[in-house]
């Protein structure tokens, strides 16, 4: 029994140690903003634009597909049932609560972790293994400025933008499905949805985008930059970055529902 408790204690201590290092990494990354040199801002801005192109622009097709299919499946499988019990008005509530507020942000974040989180870890781990990070520091360039901050801000802006896109496409998909399966007019559908959509939903979406984007920027970057042994560790780092990012996103989503959504 004592051995079991000791093992749990050791595991917890290790986990807390890792969380502490991650928190320190995040703090140092954000604190480095104040020391970003003027000339460095222009270079970092170019890296940021590249990150936006990769994370946001190139993910538009995937987000449209995910969102369109999800809303189509949701509406097509529920509207007939709602019609039977005379509760087709609830379609608006369903769209707003299930898709706009919860599934939209979550699925967008999962898609961005899958596309960009993995790429960030793999890229930074490769930079580390090839000695590029050490070389940057050796020539007076802060890796936080050149590698980490553009990726964090790129992920935050991309996730917020893609979440808004996801929600817009989902609502449009719902509009098409509602017309197709229930014969509901466009005006009625939009009226129902807009009546259920509150300012809080919009603010929550942006807030989640901010949180999830920060998580997707920080955790994969941390896992990439802490690779030590060599190229064989890169796949493990990618797995750690992906799993920890997804875990953190799900935990945050649950906390938001528990604390902010009543």
């Amino acid at each position: 029994m004592t051995g079991l408790l000791a093992a749990i204690g050791r595991g917890t201590a290790r986990w807390l140690g890792r969380v502490g290092l991650l928190a320190r990494f995040a703090f140092e990354a954000f604190a480095s903003i104040r020391t970003l040199p003027g000339a460095g801002r222009r270079v970092a801005a170019r890296v940021l634009l590249n990150q936006l192109r990769f994370t946001a622009l190139e993910a538009v097709g995937l987000i449209i597909l995910l969102s369109g299919v999800l809303s189509y499946l949701t509406i097509s499988s529920t509207i007939a049932q709602l019609d039977k019990v005379g509760a087709s008005e609830l379609i608006g509530k369903l769209m707003v609560v299930a898709i706009v507020r919860e599934l939209g942000p979550l699925l967008t974040a999962i898609a961005v972790v899958g596309r960009s989180g993995t790429a960030i870890t793999a890229e930074l781990a490769t930079n580390t293994v090839l000695g590029e990070v050490r070389a940057l520091e050796g020539m007076g360039i802060d890796p936080y400025h050149y590698l980490v901050l553009p990726r964090i801000f790129g992920c935050v802006v991309s996730v917020i933008t893609l979440m808004v896109l996801f929600d817009v496409i989902a609502l449009l998909g719902g509009y098409l499905a509602a017309g197709l399966f229930s014969g509901m007019s466009g005006a009625r559908y939009l009226g129902i949805v807009l009546a259920n959509l509150t300012t809080q939903d919009v603010v929550l979406t942006v807030f989640k985008g901010l949180l999830f984007g920060t998580v997707i920027g920080i955790i994969p970057a941390y896992e990439g930059l802490t690779v030590r042994r060599g190229p064989t560790e890169i796949p493990q780092a990618v797995i750690r970055g992906t799993v920890h990012s997804l875990g953190m996103i799900f935990v945050l989503a649950a906390i938001i529902v528990g604390v902010l959504v009543r």
Binding site: E28, T35, A39, R42, N127, V133, R134, G140, P143
Partner: protein, 237 residues
């Protein structure tokens, strides 16, 4: 004359290097004590195999790692004790060619040379381009300057890495394993470029280099050679 690099009773070990200087490093016991001064205008080589701890010296000179014991002064300053932003600013005064060249793989050789100037100087774009053009021509990289490191051969990559180290025309250059895998002729050209020509006092730049060995052709061009092995430090020349 004040030495440009001074290792004062520095404990050296084969400790795992940090990936970023602010991230934690596993500390180990020192197995070699080193006291060494690199005078201005000199070319000093410290040689030793990978078990000697010689590969840690470049990082110690640049403050990328803290010594386990003792002090390292570079241009009269203990870089490792400075605040992080001051450390970074200070390192721009020293040219650094890391082991394995450390070129950014997503940039062309020209962009790699341009990077420290664009990030760490207030030069106008035209001034930067002028300076980069001169370095590219001096190091005979014109033909390959627009290739990425993976498309260039080892010699050109090393030249580009040296070009990047010389971008600010520093008075001190730290080279880690600079001649690894190069022909004697290429190594000699690289060393001459690092020295930056001759003055009455010696080479225009002070060069501190580390590595496993020195090509025979270069030995006359090196003012001091120190060898580290099995916890001992010997002055070879």
């Amino acid at each position: 004359m004040t030495p440009l690099v001074a290792f004062l009773e520095v404990g050296v070990s084969r400790a795992a290097r940090t990936t970023m200087s602010s991230l934690p490093v596993v500390s180990t016991e020192p197995d070699t004590m080193l006291t060494l001064e690199v005078a201005p205008h000199q070319t000093v080589a410290v040689l030793g195999d990978e078990t000697s701890g010689v590969d840690a010296l470049g990082g110690l000179a640049l403050g990328l790692e803290r010594p386990l014991t003792g002090r390292v002064l570079t241009l009269g300053t203990e870089i490792a004790t400075l605040e992080r932003s001051a450390q970074l600013a200070f390192r721009r005064r020293v040219g650094y060619l890391p082991a394995g060249d450390g070129l950014m793989q997503n940039l062309t050789l020209r962009d790699n040379i341009r990077l420290p100037l664009r990030f760490g100087s207030d030069f106008r774009p035209r001034e930067i381009e002028g300076r980069v053009d001169v370095i590219v021509a001096q190091l005979r990289l014109t033909r390959v300057a627009d290739l990425r490191p993976a498309q260039a051969n080892a010699e050109d990559r090393r030249r580009a890495a040296l070009g990047r180290a010389l971008a600010f025309d520093p008075e001190l250059v730290v080279l880690e394993e600079p001649f690894d895998g190069l022909t004697d002729r290429a190594a000699a050209e690289l060393l001459e470029a690092a020295r930056g020509g001759e003055t009455a006092e010696g080479a225009r730049r002070t060069v501190f280099l580390t590595g496993p060995d020195l090509p025979a052709l270069l030995r006359p061009r090196v003012d001091r050679t120190v060898r580290m092995a099995r916890g001992r430090v010997e002055e070879v020349r």
